[in-house]
Amino acid sequence: MSTAWPLWEVFVRSRRGLSHTHVGSLHAPDAELALRNARDVYTRRQEGVSLWVVPSSEIVASDPGERDAFFDPADDKVYRHPTFYDVPEGVEHL
């Protein structure tokens, strides 16, 4: 019966001012034990000041097979980058 424990994804904020980053996953019966286990497994050396655990089943991922079609609208919009523009010689602070 214990094999049915759900999988949780673990995110750690390493210090104030940085975002939470995915570090791995673990199984736990509930959120509180998931947090405690995540603390013991992923922050044994002061790797974090904050932890998130998220049920893996709640994560919706884009399909790798559709990657090209999904992301290619950005391909032909080079004008979104500052390097696209010609700046005349001598212009500063632009």
Binding site: S2, T3, A28, P29, R44, A61
Partner: protein, 307 residues
């Protein structure tokens, strides 16, 4: 990008990418075996926690053994991204269908063995594992990065134990020497069979699962370790070890691979003990897992009743 293009580009394969079945199967077998080794590896050293010679040594050893449990977890989690269940992998371990590293089938007879394991066994593991940080399968590579960060303390604490003993009383020196004598050859066997009888290596290299051959890694380990033994003031039990000016490596004597074969076949000194202990711990812990599951079911039922 196709699987072949990805490998040619030295890219990383991620869980939802398409991959050949044989690649997936090979990875599952390798990562599971690696995970099993981490948790079985807790036993030989766990044997000495209650008998560590000081509180300092005891706290360090507990932290190390706890790390190994964590390594097991990182690796089981990496294996699960390939579509297998952890319970199933444990079942395969418990029924002997999957292996673990044969080094853990040797006994820890004295406190010095804890030092020898840290220095030699963790040392050899590091040499094996550092290249795996660049393995082609992303979750495995990322798990190995975490593992390698933690391993360096393991090797140092072992070296420190041996250094202290080797510079202690004659009896302590003899104890350290005895441990090194027993663990040296099995540590060299951790790199697996020689290249000319390692049939799957070429495919694993082509897949980017393996980066260096068994013999290359073994040579690297010997080159690192021989000078360290001199600093410890201990000898390695191989009269053929000497620096080869022309090869730029240490020469060493032939390894008795029939012993490795025997231990893998289940006839090492502790195979039966290790498995019995593992299965016993799993069964004895069932009530804890069941209680946690029952508690969550009760909480969920209450939450539903309240809603």
């Amino acid at each position: 990008m196709s699987f072949d293009d990805l490998l040619a580009d030295d890219g990383r394969v991620e869980p939802r990418d398409e991959m050949p079945d044989a690649y997936r199967r090979t990875l599952i077998r390798q990562i599971a075996q690696h995970a099993h080794s981490e948790i079985i590896g807790m036993q030989p050293e766990g044997n000495w926690i209650s008998r560590a010679p000081s509180l300092r040594r005891k706290a360090i050893l507990m932290a190390k053994v706890q790390d190994e449990a964590g390594h097991g977890l990182y690796l089981y989690a990496a294996a699960e991204t390939l579509g297998v269940e952890r319970a199933d992998l444990l079942d395969q371990l418990h029924t002997g269908r999957q292996k673990y590293s044969s080094i853990f089938n040797y006994p820890t007879l004295s406190w010095a063995d804890v030092g020898a394991i840290g220095w030699l066994v963790d040392g050899a593991a590091i040499v094996n594992q550092v290249p795996l940080c660049r393995c082609s399968y992303g979750p495995y590579a990322r798990a190995m990065v975490r593992v390698c960060k933690e391993e360096s303390f393991h090797q140092r604490q072992g070296f420190e134990i041996l250094h202290t003993l080797a510079h202690g009383t004659p009896e302590q020196h003899a104890m350290a020497q005895d441990a090194v004598d027993r663990y040296w050859w099995p540590s060299l066997m951790m790199f697996g069979p020689p290249d000319d009888s390692s049939p799957n290596s070429a495919q694993s290299m082509a897949w980017g699962i393996k980066r260096f051959s068994n013999d290359d890694l073994r040579r690297r380990f010997v080159d690192m370790t021989v000078p360290q033994a001199e600093i410890l003031g201990l000898t390695l039990p191989d009269p053929d070890i000497r620096w080869s000016e022309e090869r730029g490596h240490y020469d060493f004597g032939p390894i008795d691979f029939t012993e490795l074969g025997e231990v893998i076949a289940g006839n090492g000194p502790c195979n039966r003990d290790r498995m019995a202990h593992r299965v016993g711990a799993h069964e004895a812990g069932a009530w804890v897992r069941d209680a946690a599951t029952a508690y969550e079911a009760k909480r969920a039922a209450r939450a539903e009743g309240a809603a």
